[in-house]
């Protein structure tokens, strides 16, 4: 424990790391306030720039982008009624009406404080829960990992936009994409069509840049001429004692909700903020005020979405299963920099893990300071015209994709997956399930193969393993629970 605290504390003694956190926080806030450029796109674009950094510095940069962009989405949500990130969509419900009443500074103050509390709470939970979960994960064998990845894939049914079926189809497509290349156990070539550059499969990073950045570019082209209306604001105001009295229960509740949702594989800040907002409304005495500028609504959504960031890092680092779209990119970052995600990370490179946790804690404090003192300036960045912003994103996308393995094939993958992602989104399919499916694809196949070998081909013996059976039951409930429960409720009525 003492060593963990020492590793976390060592962050502030590393001036380069502190500077990196400050710079990436500024970058994260800029990414967060620019509509369309969310934390996932930002992290995917930044990943190639971390190539020359040490593993701790690289992951810190990505994690800082994650936490700061998640918060910053609220700035534009409140000031221009356009959530900078999907996770800030719930903040618009009450943030913008409050700003319209001339209380933009107060709304931003509530958002900053709630986000910071949510973020710090979740990092503390991460520090405590991750090593505990790692202890349990040591016992995992292929059947447990297989069941866990199936559970992770089943959770796609409930993430973000799109319906459950569409998300699952996206997830299956992602898993199939992961089968392209040589099959790991036998070396048989699959779906390579004679292109030997695909022998080791598709690289994650170009696929992610294509799915998130390039497809978003094409989506943004639809609103290229959109001009946002801004609300003027003098300064960000810290919540008053009366405000704190009104929101503290909501903030605490949302911290718990956000962290829990974040820990669930594949769920993320967007789902957390929606549930955080809905629960804030359900427990509020002033339900009628919701949608008209209730500060509990802002606090509930913002504390939950930032609490989800630390929560989502738990399965990412301990199990190698991304807790959200952005942590899928961070997971790739861990692999690129030689940090093998999984329970052994907590024995082999524990000091690095706690340095990353410490850096995340510091990032939460840095974005709070920036949120309080520079939100007004950052809000102006959101007014950068799209005809200037998105061509720059295009350049960064293709050069970034090329830089990772100096292969033009990766550039073509960006373009292809950009177009696939655009048409998928056009028809209501979210791209996050494809990314999560891609990450989990190899895990699910390899662990199924190893389980079959372990049980000499008797696949049903997977169900005789208690933990594996538990995960599979949870997966079943995740997929069919809502249908079963609604039918039970209907019959009762």
């Amino acid at each position: 424990m003492l060593e963990a605290l020492q590793s976390m504390g060592s962050v502030i003694l590393d001036p380069y790391l502190v500077l990196l956190i400050v710079v990436t926080t500024v970058l994260g806030v800029i990414i967060g306030v620019l509509p369309g450029l969310g934390a996932t796109t930002g992290a995917a674009l930044l990943l190639p720039f971390t190539l020359t950094m040490s593993p701790v510095h690289a992951i810190t940069a990505l994690a800082t982008i994650y936490v700061s962009a998640t918060f910053a989405g609220s700035i534009t949500a409140i000031l221009i009624n356009t959530p900078g990130t999907a996770a800030a969509a719930a903040t618009t419900f009450d943030g913008y009406p409050l700003a319209q009443r001339g209380e933009a500074g107060r709304a931003l103050g509530i958002a900053v404080v709630s986000s910071t509390i949510g973020g710090i709470f979740s990092v503390i939970v991460l520090c405590i829960a991750a090593p505990m979960l790692a202890q349990v994960a040591y016992e995992f064998r292929p059947p447990e990992y297989f069941a866990l990845t199936v559970f992770g894939l089943s959770m796609l049914a409930s993430i973000s936009a799109g319906g459950a079926v569409k998300n699952l189809i996206g997830g299956i497509f992602g898993v199939w994409v992961a089968t392209i290349g040589a099959e790991p156990a036998t070396g048989i070539e699959r779906f390579m069509f004679g292109n030997y550059e695909l022998y080791e499969g598709l690289s994650f990073v170009p696929v992610f840049i294509g799915l998130f950045a390039m497809s978003e570019l094409l989506v943004q082209s639809k609103i290229a001429h959109h001009v946002a209306d801004t609300i003027s604001m003098k300064a960000v105001k810290l919540p008053t004692r009366e405000d704190y009295k009104r929101i503290w229960k909501t903030v605490l509740r949302s911290c718990g909700i956000g962290t829990f949702i974040g820990v669930l594989p594949a769920e993320g800040a967007t789902v957390a903020s929606m549930i955080g907002y809905a629960e804030a409304r359900r427990w509020s005495k002033n339900k009628k005020e919701f949608g008209k500028g209730a500060i509990e609504g802002i606090a509930g959504a913002e504390a939950a979405n930032n609490a989800a960031t630390g929560g989502a890092m738990v399965p990412t680092m301990v199990l190698g299963i991304p807790g959200s779209g952005t942590t899928a990119v961070i997971l790739v970052g861990l692999m690129v920099h030689g940090l093998r995600p999984g329970p052994y990370l907590f024995t082999e490179q524990v000091d690095k893990v706690y340095q990353i946790f410490g850096a995340m804690l510091l990032a939460n404090i840095v974005f709070m300071i920036m949120g309080l003192y520079a939100a007004k300036a950052f809000a102006r960045i959101s007014l950068v015209p799209t005809p200037i912003l998105w061509p720059v994103v295009f350049a960064l996308s293709v050069i970034g994709a090329y830089a990772l393995s100096t292969s033009l094939l990766d550039v073509w993958i960006v373009l292809i997956f950009g177009v696939i992602g655009f048409f998928a989104r056009r028809h209501g399919f979210s791209v996050a399930p494809i990314a999560v499916g891609l990450i989990l694809g190899e895990m699910v196949e390899t662990n199924l193969q190893n389980s079959l070998k372990m049980f000499e081909g008797d696949w049903w013996l997977i169900f005789t393993q208690p933990l594996a059976a538990l995960f599979l039951v949870l997966a079943f409930l995740g997929l069919f629970g809502p249908v079963i429960f609604s039918r039970i409720v209907r019959q009762r009525d």
Binding site: F49, F191, L218, A224, N450
Partner: protein, 164 residues
Amino acid sequence: MQVPPSGGTAPVNIRVFIIPALITAFSLVVIWASLQLDESPPMIVGDSMQPRAFPMFLMAINLLLVAVLSIQFYRHPPRKVPLERYPTWGSIALLALFYVLTVYADMFIGIAVVMFLMCMLWGERRLWVAGTLAVVTPVAVFLLFDSVLRIRFPRGLLTNWYYG
């Protein structure tokens, strides 16, 4: 063409089934392609599965999901997606242009031309803004990656001149 639903309330437009049909076709193509894959000798595969089995299993699940999606679309037809305007289709065409320029000229020429045209296509009317953006961004990013990250870019008209 209209298909009357079994409930007999409102006719369902057959166009809503285009997406499920495309996914079905994709799944069937993958199953066919999987069947063309080599088989691994039993002594290597052992009690595990053949490399073709997993993709086929995935596509079988996909076909089930598509069936559910079709039922959903039949009961609650999705709203019609409005056709995008020229900036979107133009941007997709620019991606194709980027491919051609990168293969036959130079990646950085491709980036500069696409940035300039995208900027204009999306509504920028000041030529000097689009031009400056199209020149400064690729040059700055190239110098950053070349000098700091030591990345060597693919050979082309400009990079041949730079690398010598």
